[in-house]
Amino acid sequence: MLRSILNRLFGMIAVMALVVTIVFVIVRVTPGDPAAVMLGPDATAADVAALRSRLGLDQPMVVQFGRYVLGVVQGDFGQSIFLNQPVTTALAQRAEPTFFLTVFSLLIATVIALPVGILSAYKRGSAFDQAATTLAMFAASVPSFWLGLLFIQFFAVKLGWFDTSGYGGPGASFLERLNHLVLPALALGLVSSALITRFARASMLDVLNDDYVRTARSKGMSEWRVVLKHALKNALIPILTVIGLTAALLISGAVVTETVFGLPGVGSLVVSAVLRRDYPVIQGALLVIAGLYVLVNFAIDMLYLAIDPRVRY
């Protein structure tokens, strides 16, 4: 047990180290001088040189990397070029809309996907199963930003039920902010429900053929108890895994969806950072999000270890 935990922990640290390295390298693949690219064609040579020394780009690569790693370990992701504030502050200020958007989308996706997936597996091959499977595939084919635009057009512009964009003013109440999150969360949640539906169906199918399900049935247990108590309990671990991973993937969807709905979250921060070539912000966002993904993965592995005694790493 301890060995498994240490093995996994070591693996996670190795992956984290690689993530930091990749994030460091990404900016260095820029053709030409990153400082010159960031400042644009109108910058003077003196400005470029000043930025170069501010970012430490005039140091040898090894020193740059060492400094970067040292900073990251201490929670210092550098200074945003355009916002004139530390990257961590910029990210923290934008975290709320992204957090709620991700949570609500995940909630919507799960509430739709779990029952549909379970019923689909239980009635395998039925008209319901076929319809659900086709619908899930359809949902996975719709670009979330396009669906978002359609929602804005219909629910906000035509029906006037919601605001078309934004997150309310600085003093907006939580309820008002919630109102701003409904459409983006719905667009993102519907699109993401596809993956969870298919996984829930597959895991249930796996379990429904197992011996203990047959035993439970032969004992004369009622069908819904067999399915919901015995089968679902065992299918839940892989389903939880995919829900956890969907949470991480949702952040990717949030980048585009936030832009469509004008939500001031991490996603729109990244997009504006890209348009302004604000590399420290891009790096910081990548690092935080990839780090979260690795941590979620690690947590899931530990969960497996705790729940299933057969699992060893």
Partner: protein
């Protein structure tokens, strides 16, 4: 996930078998039609894609302009045909590029035991980045051109393929015929290409179809955000970005390109799903 399936060569008429299923049959026909439309765009487009006509701006669909006109009076239908060329060829190039990188990484990790851990860790680390976000960062660093979008998305999707190839290679490596080839002194590169690669072709084909679908969505997302291919070049994503500004008055500008994306991606998924059933019976229940 590991599954060794029958080699492609022993499946006569794979296309025929795909056509035999209602879902993939429809999917395949739709894909061929869309590909033909893209290929023949210069001949079937009623107008030049960049032909301006301010007098006819924001006109709703009519017989003259099947899908209406955009803010500069350009024919939306003609532009969509040309956009299909860009969107499809970028996505296809992503599949090719990510396959090459993914196969090299996967074969290396699966075949050479000593390299497995470092390569797999690298793949794990790459998978930690959400696809669009990593692609945005890469395009930001490399510059917003079509070639760089292909490279960025190729790098993003390569790890997925690497995982599939590694898993299959791990199984094939231990099979008697590989051992026999090794005992006979067949050079390793030959073993890798002739014996291993040939047998992982099916999972690569299946995965490639899904990467194709994802790449279309991702490229559209990047172009929509204005951080992908230059906004001047018509792609389905850039057309939606333009249409967004005129959503109230001229919904058709963004409706049709969006529908094109949905139809194309759905068709690819239908075909991919059937391919998986036909080629990888053991994979069929996953995902």
């Amino acid at each position: 996930m590991a599954a060794v399936s029958a080699p492609l060569q022993s499946e006569p008429g794979l296309v025929a078998r795909l056509m035999g299923r209602p879902t993939s049959g429809v999917g395949l026909i739709v894909l061929v039609l869309i590909a033909l439309a893209a290929l023949l765009a210069p001949w079937i487009a009623p107008y030049a894609p960049a032909k301006l006509s301010v007098a006819h701006r924001l006109e709703p669909p009519t017989l003259q302009h099947l899908f209406g006109t955009d803010d500069l009076g350009r024919d939306v239908f003609s532009r969509m045909l040309y956009a299909a060329r860009t969107s499809l060829s970028v996505a296809f190039a992503v599949v090719v590029f990510s396959s090459i990188v993914g196969i090299v990484l996967g074969l290396t990790a699966g075949f050479f035991k000593k390299l497995d851990t470092p390569v797999s860790r690298l793949v794990d680390a790459m998978m930690a980045f959400p696809d669009i976000l990593l692609a945005i960062a890469l395009v930001a660093a490399l510059g917003p051109t079509a070639v760089n979008v292909v490279m960025a998305l190729g790098i993003v999707y390569a790890p997925r393929l690497a995982r599939v190839v590694r898993a299959s290679t791990l199984v094939i490596r231990e099979l008697p015929y590989v051992e026999a080839a090794r005992a006979l002194g067949v050079p390793t590169p030959v073993i890798l290409v002739r014996h291993v690669l040939r047998n992982v072709a099916s999972p690569i084909l299946v995965q490639g179809t899904f990467i194709f679908a994802n790449a279309i969505l991702a490229e559209a997302g990047l172009s929509f955000l204005g951080v992908g291919i230059s906004p001047d070049i018509p792609t389905w994503g850039t057309m939606i970005a333009v249409g967004r500004q005129y959503m109230d008055q001229a919904g058709w500008i963004m409706m049709f390109p969006g529908a094109a994306i949905v139809i194309t991606v759905l068709a690819l998924q239908l075909v991919g799903d059937s391919l998986r059933d036909l080629l990888d019976p053991r994979l069929a229940k996953d995902i």
